[in-house]
């Protein structure tokens, strides 16, 4: 991967744009990111002997190492950790922070990921000492407030899903999928059935089939119709007595609510299989419709999407799972319960439980943020979330439709698919994505669920002005493709690095620093 023509200055200042009268500022490049050159690794900073933090001098006698430890196990040298003073540690992480796109600085229309604003107050709540500093083995009597919080969250999620019981234990969406499939398997086994197949549409997220594999099931793909909906004939042909579950995402990953859902539930249930909902797209239906009411037996939530807990550069999330009545006996333990006298407790008593899927109780710090979010918004605010998320998506789609190919017809739910048709100019969806970076916009999800697409999810927290700016930028990029495609093909031009050789990174992996 080399290029000859482009120098960094190309496109550093995109040609001035004529703003519609009296409305918008000119398009800005992300000049603050144009720090050139690389930034030293921690291991290249500092000097032997430096340390960023000190402990009090020990006030107990030294314990003899040689009598108290087997000499074979005693370290003879220390791990080569950095040796850096506190100020340099601070500068290091400050500079790294400057080299990231984030919700707090950038529009982030990353389809399926629901990159909405993460309210500051939720961070403050999560760090209240009485919540943040509890040890998981403290007694229920010392943790009543936390137990009540978790119990209330459990009830709220039950209400939102329309399912009678929710477990808060799973650590993320994929972990929730796995937990749910384990519950479903245990249910079938309890009826003396060993079903081996799990179906999912071709538009399913990669974690769906991967979760099947972890559960020892065979993943079978069900076709989608050209309009993005499940092909019912193909579903009918594939669902049988050996099918444990059908995993559906609804609204699906093309951004469409599949109105055949009730019929799908019927087809699946007729064969004794379970209907599983990947709840990644719940942001479009809060307070509008409930999975339990449209025939779902089991689902997961992504708190880090729908309930706005921050993504932290990759995690943590939480993946609470809700189940219908007949699956309740199989939920993981322990469960947070109300004792009936206004006190709360952990309950291990569930004979047919699948057991534990992670240590302790779950991603509690994440769940606290989700609780704060749901409390702040309430039933009215949650409904407003979905209404505005759907409004924003349809508005953006309507504006972009003028110039771009939207292969699936609307109305859309909270996201939609767009195909930048520039193959004639040798410009790919990846090039468009990279060019968006120069305009300070995080690229949409790429090349999934169909080839060459961008999946655009604006979320409800964006203003009309931000959406309009995005449309202008997309149109601008289309102009650039027509006038000077190399500016797009070689983007980004304003980041600390240009395009990276990802092939080499995998072919000859260097995944740790060696001096």
């Amino acid at each position: 991967m080399t290029t000859t023509t482009t120098k960094r200055e190309v496109g550093q200042t995109p040609p001035k744009q004529v703003a519609p009268p009296g409305r918008k500022p000119e398009l800005k490049t992300k000049a603050s990111y144009s720090t050139t050159g690389d930034h030293p690794l921690l291991f290249e900073l500092g000097a032997p002997g430096l340390c960023g933090s000190g402990l009090p001098v020990s006030d107990v006698p030294n314990a003899d190492r040689t009598t108290n430890l087997p000499v074979e196990m005693l370290a003879t040298s220390l791990p080569a950790l950095p040796e850096v003073g506190e100020l340099d540690v601070v500068r290091h992480y400050k500079r790294l922070a400057h080299r990231c796109f984030s919700i707090d600085e950038n529009f982030y229309p990353l389809g399926s990921c629901t990159m909405k604003y993460n309210p500051r107050i939720n961070e403050r709540v999560a760090f209240i000492p009485g919540l943040a500093n509890l040890h998981p083995y403290q007694s229920d009597s010392d943790t009543q407030g936390m137990l009540e919080l978790l119990y209330r969250l459990r009830c709220d999620l039950q209400e939102i899903s329309g399912l009678p019981e929710v477990t808060l234990q799973p650590a993320a969406g994929a972990h929730g999928e796995m937990t749910a499939l384990m519950i479903i398997t245990a249910y079938h086994r309890s009826r003396g059935e060993h079903r081996t197949k799990v179906l999912a549409p071709d538009s399913a997220h990669g974690t769906n089939p991967a979760s099947c594999a972890i559960c020892g099931h065979k993943a079978v793909t069900v076709k989608s119709k050209p309009d993005g909906r499940v092909d019912l004939d193909d579903l009918r042909a594939k669902v049988d007595q050996d099918t444990a579950a059908f995993m559906i995402t609804n609204p699906n990953t093309t951004g469409i609510f599949d109105e055949q859902i009730a019929e799908i539930a019927e087809i699946v249930h007729a064969k004794g299989a379970q209907l599983y909902l990947d709840g990644a797209n719940m942001n479009a239906i809060l307070g509008i419709t409930r999975p339990g009411d449209f025939g779902v037996d089991c689902m997961h939530f992504n708190t880090h999407k729908t309930f706005s807990t921050p993504h932290g550069g990759g995690g943590p999330g939480a993946g609470p799972v809700g189940v219908a009545e007949h699956l309740r006996p199989f939920l993981p333990v322990p469960q947070v319960i109300e004792n009936g006298n206004g006190s709360f407790a952990w309950c291990d008593d569930r004979e047919k439980s699948i057991g534990k899927v992670r240590s302790f109780f779950g991603q509690v710090g994440v769940l606290v943020r989700a609780y704060a979010y749901i409390r702040s918004l309430g039933c009215d605010g949650l409904k407003d979330v979905s209404q505005k998320a759907v409004l924003n998506a349809n508005y953006l789609a309507a504006k972009l439709k003028e110039r771009f190919n939207l292969p699936f017809p609307g109305p859309y739910a909270h996201e939609f698919i767009l195909i930048p048709d520039f193959a004639g100019d040798g410009v790919s969806e990846n090039d468009v994505a990279k060019r968006l970076i120069d305009y300070g916009i995080h690229p949409p999800t790429m090349s999934w669920p169909i080839h060459h697409c961008l999946m655009i999810e604006p979320t409800e927290t964006e203003s009309k002005r931000t959406l309009d700016n995005f449309v202008d930028v997309m149109n601008k990029i289309a102009d650039e493709v027509a006038e000077n495609p190399s500016i797009v093909k070689n983007a980004p031009h304003t980041m600390p690095v240009r395009r990276l050789d990802e092939v080499a990174a995998s072919r000859k992996p260097n995944v740790r620093w060696k001096a």
Partner: protein
């Protein structure tokens, strides 16, 4: 509170652009009979001030460490967290970034995770590490699935000296697979009984999972166990406490194949059990079999150093059902905290933490063992946590301590392992001599 920011006037304008009469019309694909009638049974939204009142009152009904002096461990420890860790990991550019799929716009977190991987390799003595898994127990389960995949064998052995949650989580994962799970009991000295381990090993064994320091705080002789495991062609998976390598040789030194661990001790608040940090490191030759994201160093078009996600063809978004794991969202923010913690403490700091844990826990253990009615339950060497056997009622003595503001330890009765007369005491660098003496005095007075 509402975080949307579109006015009614703008709504009308937007609807006009869309060509719809109302927002309601946009939901027309959802059949009427499936619609939720009326409001959800959730209270109406509240202001920020009311939310603070609500959550502070909930928090006020808890009694947390800090308010109480904690000797609790069992997999979650009250270590000191330098202020810099909160300050730097709280930067919203890091906090609110997504997974770094767009490398050019994510050099900050990518470099951070590359540095994290390097430091985890150093602490475990391994060649390669990933960018985090959920937490310690599921990391052990993932390592086991990895070992099954590498060896193509269908039998796994775990020592019951591992954390009970690790054993249960592994059991849950393996119940789905056609894999046999054998367990090795706790020996007299609190460690794995090598005889009974030996009896459980055979040519079908994919892996043995050993935790050291183990659940009871004891240091396992992995220098002797690993060769035994390797004799049968099985992989040795060692679950470890990353802090211990400030004092002890890391598992890699003894030829462990995969090292996993709970990284909570590295600058992560207790948070009632999560989110924590799953660690996984391995020998270089297993790199392509590892679960989870991995960051690699590479060059850009101008030959400049940069970072990107590497080996993505192992992962679910590419390989789907043939991926090495289903994990997608990981524990990025916690890996960040661990990195900042390790950068701040550094080589000297980690040695100081480990040494103080060692000295203080030994001071506490010696003092408690001198009391009437108390003895150390096990002879094996320990690092920062130890198990006490008593002739008194464990529940009673812990509740007396608690009434005086001391969380004296974790009662083993809660794990139903036949050690109901025992409790575990963890002593980190944060505990002062005065606090330890107070615990000892309290126990002596019962």
């Amino acid at each position: 509170m509402q975080y949307t920011q579109v006015t009614d006037a703008q709504v009308s304008e937007m609807l006009e652009t869309i060509g719809a009469e109302s927002i309601e019309e946009l939901f027309s694909p959802i059949p009427d009979k499936l619609r939720t009638k009326g409001d959800l049974n959730i209270p109406k939204g509240v202001s920020e001030l009311e939310l603070l009142r609500d959550t502070e009152s909930l928090a006020g009904r808890n009694h947390a460490t800090g308010e109480l002096i904690s000797f609790l461990g069992g997999g979650a420890y009250d270590h000191f967290i330098p202020t810099v860790v909160d300050a730097m990991s709280g930067q919203s550019e890091l906090l609110t970034a997504y997974t770094p799929y767009q490398a050019e716009a994510s050099q900050g977190v990518l470099q951070l995770f590359y540095e994290f991987q390097t430091m985890i390799c150093e602490l475990t003595g391994m060649d390669v590490a990933n960018a985090s898994l959920y937490e310690g127990a599921s990391a052990a389960a993932e390592a086991t699935l990895m070992a099954i995949n590498i060896t193509r064998r269908k039998r796994v052995v775990i020592a019951e000296t591992a954390h009970p949650d690790t054993v249960s989580v592994l059991r849950t994962y393996l119940a789905q697979q056609d894999v046999e799970l054998a367990t090795v009991q706790v020996g007299e000295d609190g460690c794995i009984d090598s005889q009974s381990l030996s009896a459980k090993l055979n040519g079908e064994t994919a892996a043995v999972i050993v935790q050291s320091p183990n659940f009871f705080g004891c240091i396992e002789r992995i220098d002797r166990l690993i060769p035994m495991i390797h004799e049968h062609g099985a992989l040795a998976i060692v679950s470890t406490d990353p802090i211990a390598s400030g004092l002890l040789k890391p598992p890699g030194t003894f030829d462990a194949d995969i090292v996993v661990g709970e990284g909570q001790a590295l600058g992560i608040p207790l948070q009632y059990g999560g989110p924590y940090l799953g660690l996984l490191a391995a020998k270089e030759k297993y790199l392509r079999k590892m679960p989870g994201r991995v960051v690699g160093m590479t060059n850009d078009l101008d030959g400049r150093r940069g970072f990107c996600l590497a080996l993505q063809t192992r992962e679910q978004h590419i390989k789907r059902e043939r991926a090495t794991s289903n994990i997608c969202t990981n524990q990025g923010l916690l890996a960040m905290r661990a990195s900042i913690y390790l950068a701040t403490m550094g080589k000297q700091g980690i040695a100081a933490v480990a040494t103080q844990c060692f000295d203080k826990s030994h001071y506490a253990a010696t003092s408690i063992a001198e009391l009437d009615g108390y003895e150390l339950a096990f002879d094996a060497p320990f690092f920062k946590e130890f198990t006490v056997r008593t002739t008194k009622s464990v529940d009673k003595l812990l509740s007396v301590c608690r009434d005086s503001g001391i969380l004296g330890g974790v009662a083993l009765s809660r794990f139903a392992m036949g050690l109901d007369d025992c409790f575990m005491v963890a002593v980190t660098e944060k505990r002062s001599k005065q606090e330890i003496d107070a615990l000892v005095e309290m126990l002596g007075a019962i």
